[in-house]
Amino acid sequence: MNIPAEFGICESDLTEMVIPNDLRAAKNSEDRILLHLARFDYSPECTFAIKLAMEEALTNAIKHGNRNDRRKQLVLRYFIDDERAVIMVRDEGPGFAPADVPDPTAEENLERPNGRGLMLMHAYMSRVRFNAAGNEVWMLKFNRDEPIERRGF
């Protein structure tokens, strides 16, 4: 999948990491991205949002995409400057249809233990886009994005 045009970056802007399908390895990569955010002085709210969305995307990729198979890998690509953070996560799984995921905030789903990751990614990031297969997600967060309580959630 090409970088979504509205993300405002090009291929050469991106740094790529290939990581084992393992939560601890994913955590190390996540920490590296958090260091970049600190370097560019992202607000605590923005950092919280990116950390949460990134963790949900990585967890989904490891558990649901690659089905906890340690022989598989993830690709994580990112770009961070003082204006925006872009994060892409791709797994080796067959993908899924995001539109088919039930709304976890519907009354009948409120007490279901699963199915909130995707919703949180959408809630906390400025843009979230999937490729057609559903095994690659691109997320964008503007550093000066409105705090979440003012964005209608």
């Binding site: 605590p44 949460l52 963790e55 409120l110 007490e111 233990p113 909130r116 949180l120 959630f153």
Partner: protein, 121 residues
């Protein structure tokens, strides 16, 4: 009396088990299963448990943690117990609001407020 535990600090106060999380990063996916198991054991050991989870030391949480809390809440209710949450910081409370789980859990600003609301044992 304080009991040994890897991820949790558990104290008794007025017949309520008050649980604090030992590490502010613990609610991440890596340890959430272990935390869920520790809380499960606590609930299994005391039918009708009155349980307060104090989040004052927690600054991050994921959907896996929310799932664990939902499962725990159901289990406590099935055993005629009570579960309350307290001291949730603004950012984390926002996660509860966005997911509408503030309607599922009984959430108090402080542990003291939560403690006064438990039914007598």
């Amino acid at each position: 009396m304080e009991q040994p535990s890897t991820h949790l600090r558990i104290k008794r106060s007025e017949g309520v088990s008050v649980v604090e999380f030992a590490d502010r990063k613990i609610l991440e996916e890596l340890s959430i299963q272990e935390i869920g198991e520790e809380l499960d054991r606590l609930v299994d050991a005391e039918p009708g448990i009155r349980l307060l989870l104090n989040f004052h030391n927690v600054d991050h949480l994921s959907s896996a943690a929310l799932g664990m809390l939902i499962t725990l809440n159901k289990k406590v209710k099935e055993r005629s117990g009570e579960l309350k949450l307290s001291d949730i910081n603004r950012q984390i409370f926002e996660v509860f609001k966005i997911t509408r789980l503030n309607r599922v859990f009984e959430i108090h600003d402080t542990a003291d407020q939560a403690l006064t609301g438990f039914k007598p044992s």
